[in-house]
Amino acid sequence: MNTNPDAVRQPLLQVSNLAVDFGTMDGVVHAVEGVDLEIAPGETVAIVGESGSGKSTTAMAVIGLLASGGRVAGGSITLDGRELVGISENEMRRIRGRDIGMVPQDPMSNLNPVAKIGTQVAETLLAHGLANRGDVQQKVIEALSAAGLPDPERRAKQYPHELSGGLRQRALIAIGLACRPRLLIADEPTSALDVTVQQTILDQLEEMTRELGTAVLLITHDLGLAAERAQRVVVMHRGKVVEQGPARQILEDPRHPYTQSLVKAAPSIAAARLQPEVFEQHRETDAGEEPAVDNIVEIEGLRKVYPIRGQAEDFVAVDDVSLAIPRGKTVAIVGESGSGKTTTARMLLKLIEPTAGTIRFEGNDIAKLDRAQSREFRQRVQPVFQDPYSSLNPMFTIERLIAEPLEFYKRGNRAERRARVRTLLDDVALPQSMLQRYPSELSGGQRQRVAIARALALSPDLVVCDEPVSALDVLVQDQILTLLGDLQKEYGLSYLFISHDLAVVRLISDYVCVMKDGALVEAASSEEIFTNPRDPYTRRLLASIPGNELGIAS
């Protein structure tokens, strides 16, 4: 199917000088301006960009499904020489599904929860006259099995909630490709899925589109993924195309400064730890890693069981986890959703009571702290949560958010607290003008900085970071990780870093613990995990980092 740049061949999709405007309460927003791109038949092209770059908007304009308030303000979109801008909704509806298929981002919300999977596939086939009442069941099963759903007869009779995220995404792919469209738009098709599932889904998608000769427009925020899966990459930033070209060229020789910073920041293709020197120190003590090591936290045989109502067997969220956090170091827990990593973190934060096992902080069992010790513990262990949109009270100003811990523990007098808040703001590189702002006025990265400043207010010794960067864009991720690294050096902090993303973990951790289904499958130094993984599950996780095999790393 590959792209033979053939001058005679007409592109399947041609977008030229596209502009999309959104009418909002604050006036017209130019979401997309002057976008040109071409897709040849059978070719895979990826649009890469951060949130707000206009990548999804461009794709939605192509399929004629702009969100309310949006309209194509200029330019043209032609499919096979036929102009799509300005045609009626009726005509567009005939093209949608039949000529242009779509695989949406979120498999949880894009299937009708009260209709069977088979019915939903059948709907598409019947709507485009590609099946009749007689043979629709047969064709549905064919479509589902082509999308790699095991046991398609049974799956067709199931409801979406009975399927895992990966299977649901396969069902959506089946729907998207049911009519054998010439072009498939895949909008972040795997962002909502666990890494190991991501890879199989993308492989499936690639295989199917190759067989059908379908061209793919892949929308993603992950440059590594784009480079691995697409022949050509289009980089968008603030509604404009800043660079486009063959995937390898974009990765190896980016021209535009924005692309360069994106390539540099992409964790999936970046090299190693942000602070290599920490490795060196650690090397020396490697030999004697017994009691001599100064551990700030020691967790032993930790277990958490949730009884399930109406079921004899309880749900084991965390099973016999033991680990230690050396002072001043970063220990990461990596795992997919449901692996028990967040539960472990919350037990360490004393938010959840363990069912069994002990957690010792500075040698004291945290379950047996008296009132005064508990107060002390709370001040020395602080969290940074995943979602900066919900971890800051929206009713508080930034100043009040950062000052709250200081006020609660009556640190210093009013003037000293004011000064402390300002120092903290400097520490996280936010301007003083932010003090009277509210969280809703800040971007995701700025909010996460505020959350970090708040966590640091009481000068804690241990910070528990629960997926602190997974809600952020790549460039912002990079900045926050650098900030966390700098702060660790400056204040000698110890981190417990929870993440599902091995690529991110590689940038920040000294030690890595891999969790699966509540249990620890492997724990070793970061170097060890990444260069010499022992457990097969760890290897699978490593292999599913997009762009890993491109060899751009080192």
Binding site: V29, Y258, V381, S390
Partner: protein, 315 residues
């Protein structure tokens, strides 16, 4: 998600060293934002204007009403077979009622009575409901179960029936009407606040407050409640409308007590039904007043709900 939302405005994109003062979004805190959105909604303006006129008329009744509240200045124009209608007698622009009272004056004084009933009964319902909701939402467990079952029981009795029973027990007085309407609103507010608090409790900023060691009371009062109160305020505005209607209904049924000449929209309707054949305007005029006032509060309440809704607020 990103598939259906227009791109975020402002500084989401590249917060290089995070110093993006320029790309901060406009507006201040939550309430500033709500107010800004409210101002742009024509429905909010219409509602606000109606409510404002209603409030002014009620407050200034002693000044603008031509006659005192219970005066019967036009008795000499009334005969058993005819009641002068709109503009038929000089000095009584809206005509007279069966007893010779000036209809315009009665309507104006009626606004005051309705406002009083509306505000007092809604306040009763709000305070009672919020107290229950707060207890249930804060303590959870069996406290929650107990309170919510009681609320369910109250809710299963039709509003008007409940109000009638309470009015029947407490006697036919205006304060009984207020207590009755207030009591029938308690379950709505209790449920709403509880649900809203439960939703807020799962937000990460509550976890963050817990890891700080804040007590349950403090977390509830300074973190959860201010964030959970929005829907309750909206419901309060909407409930003012139903309270005005309920008050009219209860007076219409004769539960409001007082003398026949008392100025009260619901009571005016009660007496109007006997004269419907000869003086239909006696029913229309207070009816229109009730409908427009209720419409004003409803429009404003709905606009407020829209302005506070996080789903529409994101844009």
């Amino acid at each position: 998600m990103s598939a259906v939302l227009p791109p975020a405005q402002g500084g989401e994109v590249l917060d290089t060293v995070a110093v993006g003062q320029a790309d901060l979004r406009s507006g201040g805190g939550f309430w500033n934002d709500v107010f800004r959105r409210l101002r742009r909604n024509p429905a909010a303006w219409i509602g606000a204007v109606i409510v404002l006129i209603f409030l002014l008329v009620a407050a200034l009744a002693p000044l603008i009403a031509p006659y005192p509240e219970t005066a019967l200045p036009g008795t000499k124009y009334i005969t058993p077979t005819s009641i002068p209608g709109i503009g038929e007698v000089d000095g009584f622009p809206h005509g007279l009622d069966r007893f010779g009272g000036d209809v315009l004056s009665k309507l104006i004084w009626g606004a005051q009575a309705s406002l009083l009933v509306g505000v007092v009964s809604t306040a009763l319902g709000l305070v009672g409901g919020m107290l229950l909701g707060l207890l249930a939402g804060t303590f959870g467990g069996w406290v929650d179960t107990l309170i919510m079952r009681i609320v369910d029981i109250i809710l299963s009795v039709p509003n008007l029936l409940l109000a009638v029973s309470i009015a029947a027990i407490l006697g036919q007085t205006p304060s009984a009407v207020m207590i009755a309407i207030g009591a029938s609103q308690v379950p709505i507010f209790a449920r709403l606040l509880r649900a809203s608090m439960l939703q807020q409790r799962s937000a990460e900023y509550v976890l963050s407050a817990q890891t700080l060691g804040l007590g349950r009371g403090r977390i509830t009062m300074s973190h959860v409640l201010p964030n959970a109160i929005g829907p309750v305020i909206v419901q309060g505005t909407l409930t003012l409308a139903t309270a005005v209607i309920d008050a009219a209904a209860l007076s219409f049924l004769g539960l409001g007590g007082g003398r026949p000449e008392t100025a009260e929209w619901g009571r005016m309707l009660t007496y109007a039904q006997n004269e419907l054949a000869i003086a239909p305007q006696l029913a229309f005029l207070p009816g229109i007043c009730i409908a427009v006032t209720a419409l004003g509060f409803t429009l404003f309440g709905e606009a407020l709900r829209e302005a506070m809704d996080p789903r529409t607020r994101a844009r």
